[in-house]
Amino acid sequence: MEQEVGRSVKGGRASFFNNHEVDQLLAMLMRVTSEHWALKERVLAVEALLVQQNILLPDSLDNYVAADEEQTRLDLESVNLIRSVLEASQNIDSKKRQP
């Protein structure tokens, strides 16, 4: 007996936009949004627990200001994230189609 359920769907699913890649992108976006939401709920839960246990004051996160050096590092990381996301499409040549 196997202990894992597979994920492939016999019969597949339809696409709706004139370019089916839009459907694929939308599905990916929903998957990413789901991950984002899970992360957000986890952070909110951590904050709530820290406040409940008097480790964090209720508004201390919103009032938090990073030190200059820390903020510079965060700004650089955010730019790197933007680059990383946008670079994902750099090798796609719209004129080069599958034969």
Binding site: Q3, R13, F16, M30
Partner: protein
Amino acid sequence: MALTHGLKIDKSIDQKSKERFASSLRGYVLNDLATEMRADFERNLAAKDSNLSLLDGTAVHKAMKQRPKFQLYSSLRCAAQELVWHTVIDSINSNAGHIQECGKELIGNGSDSLGSLMLDETLESPDYYSAVDVHLMPGNYQGKNDTGILPGAVYDNGFNVFAFGAMGTDLDDIGCSMANFVRLKFPELKPKVIVDVGCTIGHNTLPWKQVFPEANVSGIDMAGACLKYAHARAESLGIQVDFLQQNSSHLSFADNSVDVVFSSMFLHELPKPYIKQFLAEAHRVLKPGGIMLHMELPPNSALTPYDSFYLDWDSYYNNEPFYKGFRDQDYNKLCSEAGFAPSSFFQSVMPRYTYVPEEDFKAVISTEAEFNEDTGRLSNDIQWYGFGSQKL
């Protein structure tokens, strides 16, 4: 709405968050986007249809295909459907050992079980049964490989996310509504034998035993994996039901031996010849005075062209190949062709029993069936549709 039975799994905060997100996405698509798509149809197609070409659901579907609202609704609805299964399968796979162990413990050796499980390993599935994964559900009801009772767990947990809380505790509102419909509509009937055909995990079978505790209640399905899960699930809830692996075209019950033959969301998953064979079987096994009742999607003939198109979406895009073919049928004719008297046909549109006071439920089922856009449409205001016949 969380599951409460003994096979429920402890999910991580991430898994619960993702399930809530998938439910919210489905709720958004089926409520908000559906409302926008209907408004787009009314404003831009129906209002300009001077030659009245939008006569039926097929014509509306053809006209809607190039509408951006339809494309967005449909693409997101498919994405949400895939997300439901993806999310749930993550939870199932990470709890697989626990689910199998729980199942084994609950099924036991059968000696101290309330109900029973009778599998038929020689049963051959018809070709249609494994042609596609219905509802885009990976592995369908039986699973691609032998994964024990996990396909049942996928269906149970997935359906709970899919229904965004609209199906009652442990997904039993359809069963509760239909069993109470029979209790209130046919008070003279004191059923001793009740059969739920196409029962999958038995979620809508169990309420029949709760409403009619004196009756012997059986759940029938072809999917052994779901039946094993159904049996364990029923045992964990302390409800006595027998589960049998059979084909709906060949029931093992003797002629004139059953008081109620019930099915829920089952007929639309059968090709027409199998629907006819099942209804004939229902007529054969029912006692005179017995009731056949099917909870189903309403017939296309009872709906506006737009509502027909809306409900038939599943047939085109949710791997429900027989859905539209079934809904295009005359249900009374289907019953009469199976041997039931046309005058015995009944149908009802009803609120969800576990969501309204019984008096309200009783008042609605005592009136003629009134169809509207919420009939059979999974939304926050869904109403169930049931039809059937009494054997004379």
